[in-house]
């Protein structure tokens, strides 16, 4: 890529350093990596320093610093991928390509890399190849894919298994992804005509009345934190600012979560309408859909939907005939950082910076994107808000339980007959859900993803709702053949170590130290004190700044609480402390290997 081209890309975004993410994504897409020579050019053009550009580039997983292959394979390494045979798939990739993971073939044709959960837990093992999703991988298919790569075939030609269901098969997406909608509810229903609420309801509702209606419905944020949506909109409406922003958080990164992927594929009009409704309520003029890089395969389709909505006067000026109601939406991609799902880190990222969570106060509703009051809502929340306006808060309150109103879309994966998404009213027990998904011989369920809780059969009568088991929707099932500590807890800890922004001292260090302890225990060297230390050290995570940091030790905390026996089984019996180091014993293996006898 020559300097002129980099300059052009920077100019496309008005040399605005807050659009650094877009510039880097364009360069990455075009060149396959961020050439070292591009950084001084961007710095100069945006009037920043190279160090400033570099700190953004080096933060995100998908920004590569070196050529990463004509075909760059990112194979998911999440717990569910491992359970579904990732190991064999990965080995086949290595054998067929002729390089290891983390490397590029000598001819530069194929690069193999690991990546965290890509939102395909219902069809693992899955990989992103040059941004295109390949799911349900098997050694046979991998051989086919690599063979086609060696022929120099196009990405479309690599997809030999046909396209997935629903819109995934459409001309604009053409992905192998399946929707796996196992149970539909009022949010995911197929006979809604986009724009109905904007056209019909807004005639009768002032912005304050919209907020009132949302407040009456008692809906809480569906991303996981559960903040009352109506209140958030009201705070933002009341906040003073020259302009206001509506963000849709589609950075669905919690391993095991994939519901937003399906909403984005099948109901994007509903989500955009929800953003527009929120804009009407709070008085915002601009909207941004922040979407994870892993879902970039939906780009052309989503752009097309936005364009269609503009033509239908559901976006743009005087929306749905409302004089003076102007609002439009652009799409902002992330580049591989789980922490950016935290709303203030998301804003930092959208401003072209590292995804480091901000401290609060001030909250985004007061000072958000570029300092303006900003509402950030989850995809599902926005979709649901439209339905609340359509059928009324009274109707919505009739669904779910007393303090958890409405429905929740669950992403169910792991050891069950029917992985996929289920829209359920709040209030079902874990047992109900396992029975529904066809999960038998269940040893444990991870509710709410790695940052949530790992529960065992004695807690399967607990209820999915805010006052008992709250969840952003991830539901990973482990049967009795799984090694909870080795396969689950270790994988989750590695995930959090990889995804910490590194800003807070405890979050940067404690998961790493906990992993060392866990390794020690798994190797059979553990003592009683190690279990006690893990419990104590995990408690220090409470002083971290953001939700990620505060929950990043949860896999350990939760498994120690509910599966303590697994730890106790693995430590040295009767040993409370490490009793010193036995040199003779430690060198037995190496002495054998080199054929020597120990000197002592």
């Amino acid at each position: 890529m020559d300097i002129k081209r980099v300059e052009n890309i920077v100019a496309n975004y008005n040399r605005d350093k807050t659009r650094l993410m877009d510039m880097l994504i364009d360069i990455q897409t075009e060149a396959g990596y961020i050439p070292a020579g591009a950084i001084p050019v961007i710095a100069k053009q945006t009037d920043t320093s190279q160090a400033y550009v570099e700190q953004t580039v080096s933060f995100y997983h998908f920004f590569r610093r070196e050529p990463s292959g004509k075909y760059t394979v990112f194979l998911n390494s999440s717990v569910v991928a491992n359970m579904m045979g990732r190991d064999k798939v990965a080995r086949t990739f290595e054998e067929e390509a002729g390089c290891k993971f983390g490397e590029v073939t000598e001819d530069g044709l194929i690069g193999l890399f690991d990546t965290a959960c890509i939102g395909m837990s219902d069809q693992e093992p899955a990989a992103l190849i040059n941004g295109k999703v390949f799911t349900r991988l098997t050694p046979f298919r991998v051989r086919e894919i690599i063979r086609n790569m060696k022929k120099g075939n196009s990405l479309d030609e690599l997809s030999t298994s046909g396209y997935g269901g629903g819109k995934n098969a459409s001309e604009l997406i053409r992905a192998e992804v399946r929707n796996n909608v196992q149970r539909q509810g009022p949010v995911m229903e197929n006979d809604y005509t986009p724009g109905t609420v904007l056209r019909e309801k807004l005639k009768h509702f002032s912005p304050d009345e919209v907020i009132w209606e949302i407040k009456l419905s008692e809906i809480r944020g569906r991303g996981g934190a559960g903040f009352p949506t109506g209140l958030k909109w009201e705070f933002c409406r009341r906040a003073r600012g020259e302009k206001k922003y509506i963000f849709c958080n589609a950075d669905e990164g919690e391993p095991g979560t994939f519901k937003d992927r399906v909403l984005l594929t099948e109901y994007p009009e509903l989500m955009f309408e929800g953003m527009t409704l929120a804009a009407y309520a709070v008085g915002a003029s601009e909207g941004i859909l922040y979407i994870r890089y892993e879902y970039k395969y939906l780009e052309n389709y989503l752009k097309h939907v936005l364009e269609k909505m503009r033509q239908q006067n559901l976006l743009g000026k005087n929306i749905a005939g409302k004089e003076g109601f102007d609002f439009d939406i652009r799409i902002q991609y992330g580049a591989g950082a789980y922490v950016c799902g935290e709303e203030s880190a998301l804003l930092e990222s959208a401003e072209g910076k590292r995804g480091e969570p901000r401290f609060k106060p001030p909250f985004p509703v007061e000072k958000g994107y570029l300092g303006y009051p900003t509402v950030i809502n989850n995809v599902e929340t926005l979709c649901t808000a439209v339905k609340i306006m359509q059928f009324g808060s009274e109707w919505y309150r009739s669904l779910g339980t007393q303090e958890s109103r409405g429905t929740k879309i669950l992403s169910i994966s792991g050891d069950c007959r029917y992985p996929g998404i289920y829209e359920m009213e709040w209030g079902y027990s874990v047992n109900d859900i396992l029975d529904m998904a066809g999960a038998y011989d269940v040893q444990a369920v991870q509710v709410g993803g790695p940052s949530g809780s790992l529960i065992g059969p004695d807690e399967f009568d607990r209820i999915i709702c805010y006052s008992d088991l709250a969840t952003g929707g991830s539901f990973i099932i482990f049967n009795n053949t799984r090694d909870i500590l080795k396969d689950v807890v270790m994988n989750f800890m590695e995930f959090f170590i990889e995804e910490s922004c590194g800003s807070c001292v405890p979050c940067r260090n404690i998961p790493w130290l906990l992993k060392q302890k866990l390794e020690k225990i798994l190797q059979g060297h553990g003592v009683w004190k190690d279990i006690e230390d893990m419990e104590e050290w995990a408690g220090m995570m409470r002083i971290n700044r953001c939700g990620l940091g505060q929950t990043a030790a949860n896999p350990v905390v939760s498994s120690l609480k509910n599966f303590r026996a697994l730890y106790e089984e693995k430590i040295q019996k009767g040993k409370r402390f490490d009793e010193g180091f036995n040199l003779e014993k430690a060198v037995i293996e190496s002495c054998e290997a080199v054929g020597r006898t120990p000197l002592i």
């Binding site: 920043t48 400033y52 590292r354 401290f359 995804e499 590194g502 800003s503 001292v505 130290l513």
Partner: protein, 239 residues
């Protein structure tokens, strides 16, 4: 706007200026809350977490939380004391801190905090990471072994046009400080000295001066523990 707000710190009623951070209000009233990444008058980073206190029952960093009327703040408890010590210990095991060979010894805030919070042997295992010393800059030596990633240099060292000279690189466990290749090379002596001075540890050393002009034993924290200057304010007031 009101002239002052009333807050309570450890049962002591205090008049604070609206908008000021808890740590500053405490400091003016002779209450020492330890800080490391924080610098008076500089936008806080809230990254070291050592200033965590209990505000109305919630753990908050006092360097980033502005005072509000009626706030009840607890800074003395077993829990808070343990958090403070933990942060110091984590920083000590995370890098390679060999005080006897460090020019900053005696003026080092991390070392001083270690003494103040009676860190004997950290409860965590030393990591002894392999880290580099970057001597490519003509004015500064950057020793990654000692860096505590407080962001002070990132926040305070900008050139006249506002370009950042320091920045983070990577994330999580790999996080480190970099110096901009262009602006770093052209840094003025004044700015380089400021960078070294603002660094709470010996990670940034100014090349123009040798490190032992003030002998060990006569340095800032050799004379009295960190925080004593603040606590003296209180003693004066009471007497």
């Amino acid at each position: 706007m009101k002239e002052f707000v009333t807050i309570t710190i450890d049962d002591q009623e205090i008049k604070a200026r609206p908008g000021e951070y808890i740590v500053d209000a405490a400091r003016r009233n002779g209450i020492y809350i330890p800080t490391l990444c924080n610098m008076s008058g500089v936008k806080p980073a809230g990254s070291c977490r050592i200033c965590t206190v209990n505000v109305n029952g919630r753990l908050m960093t006092s360097c980033t939380t502005p005072v509000a009327e009626g706030m009840e703040i607890e800074t003395i408890s077993q829990e808070i004391a343990d958090f403070r010590k933990t942060v110091v210990e984590l920083l000590l095991i995370e890098g390679n801190h060999f005080c006897p060979s460090c020019e900053k010894s005696g003026n080092c805030e991390l070392q001083a905090l270690g003494y103040r919070f009676e860190v004997m042997v950290p409860r965590f295992p030393y990591q002894f990471p392999k880290r580099d010393i970057d001597a490519s800059n003509p004015k500064l030596i950057k020793d990654h072994n000692r860096c505590v990633l407080c962001k002070r240099c990132i926040r305070t060292i900008l050139d006249e046009e506002g370009h950042h000279i320091f920045a983070f690189r990577y994330r999580g466990h790999q996080l480190q400080i970099t110096i901009d290749p262009e602006y770093g090379m052209n840094m003025t002596d004044e700015l380089a000295q400021k960078a070294a001075k603002n660094c709470p540890v010996g990670a940034l050393l100014y090349r123009g001066k040798h490190g032992f002009e003030i002998p060990i034993g006569k340095r800032k924290y050799d004379k009295e523990p960190i925080g004593s200057d603040i606590e003296k304010l209180k003693k004066v007031k009471i007497s």
